[in-house]
């Protein structure tokens, strides 16, 4: 408070701004979060080691079956230098990206077309709506039958999962554009193409990125499931889903948890990447 004392004269007091790190360290919420996560890990550790320390009778239900975090950490350190582990990362990322990119490439134009042209919408939206409620994973067996290779059927289901979400988001975004933007452009003599490229497209960008973020989440789920169901290993596929499934078959609980955490990190990385890309594409959004 002392540095404000002189300001009664009327001028602003300009105290120094704190750095980001300083703010974080002084933030109560941050420390509460840290405490919570540490307590969570401790409860987990104690819960799963109860039987070890006090005998079988003390086994905690459910938690007692999960390996303690320390064991998981050790197991993780063991797999880290192995090439197979990183190959699983690569395989999963490759599948997620290919399905996702195809879904973006087809979904964005399709959604925009639906939004811009009423006849197109009347014609193609109803069949789209009939197929949309079918959960993507229900397509897995059908696509395994249809596509010649496992790899292609995984890619197809991945694509489906992201496609529906992206189209719905693009359509919603493009349909809710403020008419004033369109009118302003019209009175300045914009052609149909200009309206589309200069107004509809940039105004839909935020929805495209929302759709992409949600779609990315679904893509990971689908890839994982597809890897598990189709036993991605049989054709030399691998992937993180297969890593987990393999550990499950081998009965290695610690490996399962390692796989889960790895996938969590992978999912987090991909959604962060989308967010960063969105910031970069939409500088006007970043300001506020």
């Amino acid at each position: 408070m002392t540095d404000v004392a002189q300001s009664s004269s009327g001028a602003y007091a300009l105290p120094r701004r704190r750095s980001k790190l300083e703010k974080l360290i002084q933030n109560v919420s941050f420390w509460r979060g840290v405490t919570a996560v540490i307590v969570f890990l401790c409860v987990w550790e104690v819960g799963s080691r109860m039987d070890e320390w006090l005998g079988e009778a003390w086994t905690v239900p459910f938690v007692g079956l999960i390996p303690p975090p320390t064991d998981v950490a050790v197991a993780w350190l063991e797999v880290l230098p192995k090439a197979g582990y990183w190959n699983s990362w690569y395989e999963s990322f490759r599948r997620v990206l290919s399905g996702f990119l195809v879904a973006m490439a087809l979904g964005i134009p399709f959604g925009l077309l639906l939004a811009v042209n009423k006849y197109f919408r009347d014609l193609f939206f109803p069949p789209f709506e009939i197929l949309r409620p079918i959960p993507p994973l229900a397509w897995v067996p059908a696509s395994l039958i249809f596509w010649p290779t496992n790899e292609m059927s995984i890619a197809f289901v991945t694509f489906l999962g992201a496609f529906f979400t992206i189209v719905i988001n693009v359509l919603g975004g493009a349909r809710s554009i403020d008419v004033r933007y369109l009118r302003a452009a019209q009175s300045m003599g914009a052609s149909q193409w200009h309206l589309f490229s200069r107004i509809v497209l940039p105004a839909t960008l935020p929805s495209i990125f929302t759709g992409a973020a949600v779609g990315m989440g679904i893509t990971w789920e689908v890839v994982l499931a597809a890897e598990m169901i189709s036993g991605g290993g049989t054709q030399g596929g691998g992937g993180l889903g297969f890593f987990i499934w393999n550990s499950y078959m081998g009965g290695s609980l610690t490996q399962i948890v390692v796989g889960m955490i790895s996938i969590g990190i992978a999912g987090f990385l991909s959604s962060s990447a989308i967010r960063a890309l969105g910031d970069w594409f939409m500088p006007w959004k970043r300001m506020f």
Binding site: S176, D178, V179, R180, Y181, R183, A184, A185, Q186, S187, M188, G189, A190, S191, H194, R198, I199, P202, A203, L205, M282, P283, W284, M287, F288
Partner: protein, 295 residues
């Protein structure tokens, strides 16, 4: 530029270039809604925007003023009657009629500068250095030279309105239509914006339609005041405001201004009372409804 202008009436072409067009409304009507719930928003309105004058339209909120703007700008067609711009029928939007919208319609994904050059760049009728110089001149004029590479959302409300004025003016419109442009600003920024706008207008007396629901604002700015009734909108009275120009905010406190105000207020107060006590539905609603018919 030139080719487009030549389409206008040849005799008036000189005036046209500096924005002195004439707009006539003849028996214009417009309604919305379903068969059993038809709402006549505008009924049989006739008046004209005289060249080089600032015509202000006032009316209670929700009375159909925005619809009137949409009709003149060409975003919507009248059900009956016609709107003539320099003797030619209005059939759609065009760059000869620039609209400054309620709140703001600056595109948030473009910087202020990009917003201003949007129109000329689209049409390609000005480019390169010429366009840059003109845009910078206008931005400097509205006091936004230093802010031209900021995004609209980074500007204050008053600055956004000024940027929008610049965006309209660079298209060299023959008339400027302002639809409650200062709505949403607080009373003080509003006063400053009114003075700023007046100075801009008094520089070259472009034909101007200004829509508002504030009487003080109307009297302060207007050459002619068109008072609309409660919905369905009809012209209740046209008053010529003979306050001297250039105007100064202190003139609002003159006896003359008070007389105008009393006259306008006595008509409007009745209308507002009628709209207030007769509608169960919020008038805000009807405004939204008419503002976005194709949403």
């Amino acid at each position: 530029m030139q080719q487009e202008n030549s389409k206008g009436a040849a005799a008036a072409s000189k005036d046209y270039a500096i924005g002195k067009s004439k707009v006539e409304l003849r028996n214009v009507s417009k309604s919305y809604g379903e068969e059993w719930d038809e709402q006549t928003v505008i009924e049989d309105i006739s008046f004209e925007l005289t060249p080089g004058d600032l015509t202000v339209v006032v009316g209670p909120s929700g009375c159909g003023k925005s619809t009137l703007v949409n009709l003149i700008a060409g975003f919507e067609r009248p059900d009956s009657g016609e709107i003539l711009l320099d003797g030619k029928r209005v059939t759609g939007p065009g760059k000869d009629r620039m609209v400054v919208f309620q709140e703001t319609a600056l595109m948030p994904w473009q910087t202020t500068y990009e917003n201003v050059v949007f129109g000329p760049k689209l049409r390609g009728d000005m480019r390169g250095k010429e366009l840059k110089d003109e845009a910078e001149r206008l931005l400097a004029k509205v006091g936004l030279y230093e802010f031209m590479h900021k995004y609209p959302l980074q500007l204050s409300g008053g600055m956004q309105r000024r940027a929008e004025l610049a965006r309209a003016l660079i298209n060299k419109p023959s008339i400027l239509i302002m639809d409650e442009p200062f709505r949403g600003l607080d009373a003080m920024s509003r006063g400053l914006m009114q003075e700023f706008f007046l100075r801009l207008f008094e520089e070259n007396h472009r034909t101007n339609l200004f829509v508002t629901s504030e009487i003080d604002e109307a009297i302060f700015l207007a050459d002619r005041l068109v008072i609309l009734s409660n919905r369905p909108a009809q012209v209740r009275k046209v008053i010529d405001i003979r306050l001297p120009r250039p105007r100064h905010y202190s003139m609002l406190n003159s006896q003359e201004a008070y007389d105008y105000k009393r006259e306008a207020m006595s008509i409007l107060h009745d209308e507002a009372m009628r709209s207030f006590s007769s509608t169960g539905v919020s008038s805000d609603f009807t405004e939204n409804y008419t503002a976005q018919p194709n949403a």
